[in-house]
């Protein structure tokens, strides 16, 4: 499984950022922006919302820097903060907006860009759209574990730590989420066939 762990900041940069140095904080944003955006995207499956959520994560980070304990590693602390901000954002947004259509969203990863032309590419885009629809129907708590598992390849233990849940609950949510996704994909696939 592909892993994408949260990067670690340079200790000097982190130290400057903790002292309120804006340029140092800017470097932290640069370092983490891809990771945060991917995490947010895997939660909301919408690039515009993921961008808003990413901004929210960094603003929350800035406001919370004084609560960070420098004797502990920054990465896991920030990962937990980012995950919680995304999860709360997702819960707030849930019900307020359904996933936009791929055309309207204007954010499709064009299959042609990766594999030029052909029915295979169109089928891939269609499958991606169905997956997004299915994921958007999952409860936020299920989405969070799915996101962490497949964005970062996180272990059950890592997810449990980040979400402050028992490992058994993580496994259970993951199992149910995957089961629901598989059923949704099979149903929609059959409906479209």
């Amino acid at each position: 499984m592909r892993k994408m762990m949260a990067p670690q900041p340079d200790p000097m940069v982190l130290s400057d950022a903790l002292r309120g140095e804006p340029n140092a904080f800017g470097r932290i944003v640069l370092l983490y922006q891809d990771w945060v955006f991917r995490l947010a995207y895997r939660m909301v499956w919408d690039a515009h919302e993921a961008s808003d959520l990413s901004q929210e994560v960094f603003l929350r980070l800035y406001r919370s820097l004084d609560k960070y304990d420098p004797s502990r590693p920054f990465g896991p602390w920030f990962q937990r903060l980012a995950t919680n901000v995304c999860l709360n954002g997702l819960k707030r947004r849930k019900g307020a907006s359904r996933v936009q259509s791929l055309d309207a969203a204007g954010e499709v990863i064009e299959p042609e860009a990766r594999e030029p032309g052909g029915l295979e590419a169109a089928g891939e885009a269609d499958r991606a759209a169905r997956l997004r629809e299915a994921v958007s129907d999952l409860p936020p708590d299920y989405r969070a574990v799915i996101s962490m598992r497949y964005l970062e390849g996180s272990s059950y233990e890592d997810i449990a730590t980040a979400l402050d849940l028992p490992v058994g609950t993580v496994k259970n949510r993951l199992f149910r989420a995957r089961e629901r996704l598989k059923q949704a994909m099979a149903m929609e696939g059959a409906g479209l066939a």
Binding site: R2, V29, L59, R63, N84, R114, M185
Partner: protein, 211 residues
Amino acid sequence: METMEDRLEHPDDDRLQAWAEGDLAAEDAERVSRHADGCPSCQKSAEAYRALFADLAGPVPSTPPELHAGVMEILRREAAPLAARPLPALGAFWRAAGVAAAASAALVALVALDLPGEAWAAFPGLFAGADQAVPWLASLLERAGDGASSASETIGAGLAASAGIGQGWTEKARALAWFLPFLAAAAGLLNLAGILRLRRSAAGREKEEIR
């Protein structure tokens, strides 16, 4: 060694998912694999899971190039050090609390002034003997009672006349007005309770996020 049980018994969906993801212990994985070799239904299900996992781990759009600039712009606009700021709802809380308290006090004062002089006697525990003990309070009560009685009679009569109802309704309207301060106080309390709850949930969310 392959057993009859391995061949006949379908693995439960939990194990099948774990097997499809390569997350089963070697011995258990071998057992599920042996079963799946001869079971098209489990093979199909495992294939569907593998396709799903691949899709879930699929590509994500690129990070918007304006994300970094957007964050820095927001931080620049917020001149005060954000970490030192109080909870955002604090100002709104005190404003709303002040409005609620002022509205309640104004209603209480209006209705109290509108009470007939004899109504004050309905509070024996509170006012009995007060006129002897505190002469200025007795005088104040007397004046307030007289003034309010005449004012309330005038206003009540005017209201009753304009509404086309009899004089008897004036008294009923005045009796109803007794409830106004209590209603106002209850509304004020509910308002405060609601705001406090909002603040607590906002603070809780913030604590949870920075845990």
